[in-house]
């Protein structure tokens, strides 16, 4: 399977997880199963397979910015990097929904954080941390 084909499968899969999170108040447990386990683990499985199969061939490394940029010139490794984003962002989104529910933060207030996490991962984490701190004075998980 070409990296492009895998990319075309991975994106809708992640989107499914995000839709489940948006609808989480309707079915909290199902949403956690989809967005907190099934989809991130499936993406992680694909990631692990990609790294096992292509890491030997990857240029660059982690030591400098040009090295990291070189790493992403390899299509399979770039795809792995993209799956890394998709999996971790979604897993984080599921954690935000779970935490908000446990601490009585209303879902409508979490939705903007989810959108940010979906689009700009760490910015969403920051937004959720600020929201959570202002409402329940907590930062640590």
């Amino acid at each position: 399977m070409s990296p492009d084909q895998l990319f075309q499968i991975a994106n809708p899969l992640a989107l499914l997880g995000w839709l489940a999170l948006l609808a989480a108040p309707l079915a909290p447990r199902a949403a956690q199963w989809v967005a907190g386990a099934a989809v991130p683990l499936l993406l992680s499985l694909a990631y692990a397979g990609l790294v096992l199969a292509f890491w030997w061939d990857a240029p660059g490394g982690f030591g400098s910015l040009p090295e990291v940029q070189a790493l992403f010139t390899h299509p399979h490794i770039a795809l792995a990097g993209w799956l890394h984003y998709l999996a971790f962002d979604l897993f984080l989104g599921a954690w935000e929904v779970r935490t908000a529910r446990a601490e009585g933060i209303p879902h409508w207030a979490v939705v903007p954080c989810l959108v940010l996490t979906f689009l700009f991962g760490p910015a969403g984490l920051l937004a959720f941390a600020i929201l959570r701190f202002t409402l329940v004075r907590k930062i640590l998980p």
Binding site: M1, F54, H76
Partner: protein
């Protein structure tokens, strides 16, 4: 099936061994990313996808520890629960994980695991030989526990199967691993046994290794007949088969 299961002396006395059961699950699940890699990777090692060998080892070790976990159900609860057993099985588990990391790591790098005589790989190869003997020794040591219950034909069969797995595997695998490779002779046409991949034109020591290691499955089946004579005959016959295949392979001849 019901008739077989209710044969005299066949009773499940305990749950599967918890540590061995968890190890079995771990080894099986850890094969999942290797299957993905198998599907994505085009590299070949000696004519096969580089990930075929790690997958074979995951399958083989899943079957091995799974079988041992299930055999433990035939003995009273707590037979293998002492501190000494737990430490020993823990060491075996560490050896199994080390073997799989080594074989998988070599595949990821597209290099040889067994028979690799370059640099640090040669040192690891030696260590892994010791780990392989250690992990195989569990069949022997468990077999000796079953031997104490040998009045029951099934227990006798399990004991013989487990002991034979160690006693036959170690010399065959030891001979294979101390040579230059698993072939005796040089394949020309590349004709191979379907699925299993053993050579059909020269000696291939993987066949006697495979048979030797599966003594623990073949001989216990004879125990289900409830006949001690059948058990002893099977153990003897199977040993002869392994030795015959071993001898043929050493002579550089295919088994058939």
């Amino acid at each position: 099936m019901t008739a077989v299961l209710s044969a005299p002396g066949f009773a499940l006395l305990s749950r599967p061994h918890p540590l061995l059961l968890r190890l079995t699950l771990l080894v099986a699940l850890a094969a999942l990313p290797l299957m993905v890699a198998y599907g994505l990777d085009d590299r070949l090692f000696q004519g096969d996808n580089v990930w075929l060998k790690p997958l074979k080892f995951h399958l083989a070790l899943t079957v091995y520890t799974g079988t041992l976990a299930l055999f433990a159900t035939l003995l009273p609860e707590g037979t293998f629960a002492s501190r000494r057993w737990t430490i020993y099985i823990g060491v075996v588990a560490a050896c199994i994980v080390a073997e799989l990391l080594w074989i998988g790591g070599a595949a990821a790098l597209g290099t040889a695991s067994h028979f690799n005589q370059t640099g640090v790989w040669a040192a690891i190869y030696g260590l892994m030989g010791a780990a392989a003997v250690t992990l195989t020794s569990l069949s022997m040591v468990m077999g000796l526990v079953f031997w104490r219950h040998r009045v029951d034909p099934l227990m006798l069969a399990v004991a013989l199967g487990l002991v034979l797995t160690f006693v036959l595997t170690v010399p065959v695998a030891g001979t294979m691993s101390s040579g230059p490779g698993h072939f005796v002779g040089t394949p020309v046409t590349g004709a191979r046994f379907p699925l299993m991949g053993w050579s059909l034109e020269v000696g291939d020591l993987r066949l006697p290794h495979f048979l030797a290691t599966h003594a623990m499955h073949v001989v216990p089946l004879a125990g289900l007949t409830g006949s001690r004579a059948t058990v002893w005959a099977t153990a003897t016959g199977f040993t002869a088969l392994v030795l015959w295949c071993f001898a043929r392979a050493l002579m550089g001849l295919p088994p058939f």
